[in-house]
């Protein structure tokens, strides 16, 4: 129980996936222009991350470790994730069109999102069991969702701010991210 709580709190706040581990920066910069798409992206990542982390854990445990193929981990994981996202897209399109409508645009982007592969690899490196793998995937994607929503909320306000010409667009987003990262440093040492 204690470890589960430590994983959840640690992954959301202390080593936030975006602001401390630098995974998933591309969607963090690209899809955070308004809150609605930030939330859509956040939940899509959560869904795919939990699913792909558990499946890659199974692949690792029952294929790679059993047949001494651990050196193929990178290839096996990226193929698993790519195939999973493709299947998910087809499944949602056919069976749950309403969900596909809100999530569909983000799915192809998620295949090459380093957060998904990154967390899948971290789970194996840290030696988590299946339950803690799922917990860790959930907590990390919740941290991603939190960072996305905070950033989108700030960016909506920034639209109306008068900025120097060179600061408009990406540069100011990096400065905002920097202040957010500093704020999250405050959580260090709580566990």
């Amino acid at each position: 129980m204690g470890q589960t709580f430590a994983i959840i709190f640690g992954s959301i706040f202390i080593s936030n996936i975006v602001l401390a581990q630098f995974l998933g920066i591309c969607p963090f910069l690209g899809v955070s222009k308004d809150i609605k798409s930030a939330v859509g992206m956040g939940f899509s990542v959560m869904f795919v991350m939990i699913l792909s982390s558990s499946i890659t854990w199974l692949v690792n445990e029952f294929l790679l470790v059993r047949f001494d193929l651990e050196y193929l981990r990178t290839i096996a994981f990226i193929l698993t994730i790519a195939a999973l996202v493709q299947l998910l897209e087809m499944f949602l399109k056919k069976n749950i069109p309403s969900l596909y409508k809100s999530m569909g645009v983000y799915l192809p982007l998620i295949t090459t999102n380093c957060a998904i592969l990154g967390i899948a690899l971290v789970n194996i490196q840290d030696g988590y069991g299946l339950f803690h793998t799922i917990v860790n995937a959930f907590a990390n994607s919740a941290g991603f969702l939190l960072a996305m929503v905070l950033m989108a909320g700030i960016r909506v306000r920034l639209e109306e701010a008068e900025l120097p010409e060179s600061m408009k667009g990406l540069p100011i987003v990096f400065f905002v991210a920097s202040s957010m990262a500093l704020a999250f440093v405050g959580f260090t040492g709580m566990i």
Partner: protein, 205 residues
Amino acid sequence: MSLFGELRKGIIAENPLFVQVLGTCPSLAVTTSVDNALGMGVAFSAVLICSNLCISLLRKYVPADIRIPVYIVVIASFVTLVEMIMNAFSPALYSALGIFIPLIVVNCIILGRAEAFAGKNKPLPSIMDGLGMGIGYSIAILLISTIREILGSGSFMGVELFGSNFQPVLVMILPAGAFITMGFLFAAFAFLKNRKAKVKKGEVI
């Protein structure tokens, strides 16, 4: 475009990090010291050049519908090779870069060059393109890491620069420092670009 032109465009005009804004994750994560950035730059360039060559050679045999999975397998194979070589010959660097070596697979620059260039061009221009982009990316992360290491640890490639009285700006090697360095660099490039446009119009000298 000439072969030299293919090489040069990746360094300035189409710099993968500062102009195309691709591959931001590793450029923030591994730039705490110049050594790490150099290792990342070399590993990245090696994968990019090999995958560009391989994909260019395969371009006539890969059906258009399944080209992306094929590209990913090719890239992942080279990343695995680089991972093994680095683990064997430079274990310190391997553990410093950690998870960001396997994550070269999902670096958008490599897949982007495969899709935009190597899948359509002959092998030799593809190698030059990969070399140019690799050098451009390496220069960019070396620039970031130089700023962060000098301010954050007071050293350059591990050599102390300022003597014992220097108080390092610790925040520069924390995540916040990575974001703020990127912010200043992007702002500087935007400033230069805007200024160039104004000079062309004759507004400022």
